[in-house]
Symmetry: C2
Subunit: 245 residues, 2 copies
DNA sequence: CCGACTTATGGTCAAGCTCACCTAAATGAC
DNA sequence: GTCATTTAGGTGAGCTTGACCATAAGTCGG
């Protein structure tokens, strides 16, 4: 910050929190990690995991700590990026709380161990939330929507899709990530061509046969590239228009 | 926010501020609005304009207020978007201050009226800052770099370039924006074709002859579109690689 | 072992877009 | 008029895209 002239005016007293939008793809559907609130307000309702910043802690550190404490997920090994700040004065009935939302993306994770803080955490498909069949506490639905749009956009321009996959993975695994997040079917052949043409996206190794049925698929690790050039754009085949966005 | 289980642990006491990266293009160069700091720390050094959030104020409102107070710029009529939060515990020697940076973009603006709070504000070309010939206070250089990268990226995917232009403008005006922000020359003919092909980017009207020399150019207003499909990508002609990014 | 089925992989082809040029048009300076 | 300059518009090779087809390599049920 950097006030120059009129210095007088006490800074407002605000609390700063971090909320997490944690996505994964399980059985072909995009899912988000929610907790059931144990305290008022919104007691018993679903909410994004989160918590207050502590002294001497960066927001990134807060995000990693909450990830561990509330969900039992090891902070490394998954993609974590800042989304944005939410600051409506009345967004939290308890008082003035500004929250900085984070987007986290990981492979289908080992889930909540009972007995830990994470016991209230559970994966929930995203669609019923978007369709307003499940209501979230606070302004968390808005945060979720923003997080989803960010994730969809990042899939176009970066290689984060690989963060959804446990290594090693097949091209089909990767394609299913795109299909689940974008909500559209993609042509397997064309998808494959684009992924393989983009240098540094994926790196081949051996073979496998896991499919209960069908030809075995080649396996890959993540490549070194972070940014996709050219971008892998949605829009192509099916209709995205309905849904929301 | 949404703590569930262990509620005990007092929220850290933090102040929340907003800092502004305000860009414009003047005589072909990208410039940023800086103020000279009047108080310690970093007294006399250049810094981004900014200030503390007040009670009951959203961050957007803070950004608009500071824009007006510190720079004399009317908040409407220019593009304003949130960049991200900066939270290193020691980023400000005065104490724990988390800042949310905003990116603002406007046409070559009427500048600082002496006598107002804005008297310390002045436009500065961006390049000498990137080249470390001018040092900014706090972590403002990092914020500036992030703001620049966001602006460059937004030029690819959205129509904000028109926010740099005073209406009405010519295709050449628009092209100079791209050249100044991206730092690369563009082919006038190809640029024109892409802009005109993208529906909703610009909207034609009459003619004008402002060039001291040369054929008169058609004039345009901003179109209705916000998003560019397809994106207008950099990379094409010259080398971007060096610089920073 | 055989054929049906499933999924992966690979190829083809027309349409569209990009980039690097080239040419024409419109103006002021001389 | 001629020239320099800038806008406007065109052309063609090369690449990418999307739709679609063909083949490969497995499993499964007989």
């Amino acid at each position: 910050m950097s006030k120059t002239v009129h210095q007088r005016r006490p800074p407002a007293s605000v609390a700063v929190a971090v909320d997490l939008v944690i996505f994964t793809v399980r059985d072909g559907r995009l899912q988000v990690l929610l907790i059931e609130r144990g305290n008022t307000p919104y007691r018993g309702q679903a909410a994004l995991p989160g918590g207050f910043v502590r002294d001497g802690e960066t927001l990134d550190a807060t995000a990693r700590r909450e990830l561990r404490e509330e969900t039992g997920v090891s902070a490394d090994s998954l993609h974590l990026e800042q989304l944005r700040a939410y600051s409506e004065p009345d967004r939290d009935p308890r008082g003035r709380i500004i929250t900085i939302a984070y987007l986290a993306i990981g492979p289908d994770l080992p889930m909540p161990q009972a007995g830990t803080d994470a016991s209230a955490a559970h994966w929930t498909p995203v669609s019923p939330i978007l369709d307003r069949q499940i209501a979230l506490a606070f302004d968390h639905e808005e945060i979720l929507r923003d997080g989803l749009e960010r994730a969809r956009s990042q899939l176009e321009h970066t290689t984060i899709a690989t963060a959804f996959c446990r290594e090693p993975f097949t091209i089909a695994d990767l394609r299913q990530i795109y299909e689940a997040v974008w909500g559209v079917p993609l042509d397997p052949s064309n998808f494959r061509r684009k992924v393989l043409k983009t240098k540094g996206f994926v790196k081949p190794i051996g073979e496998r046969r896991l499919p209960d049925i069908g030809r075995p698929a080649a396996l890959f690790h993540r490549g070194l590239a972070e940014i996709l050039t050219p971008p892998l754009m949605r829009s192509g085949t099916a209709s995205i228009s309905r849904e929301e966005m």
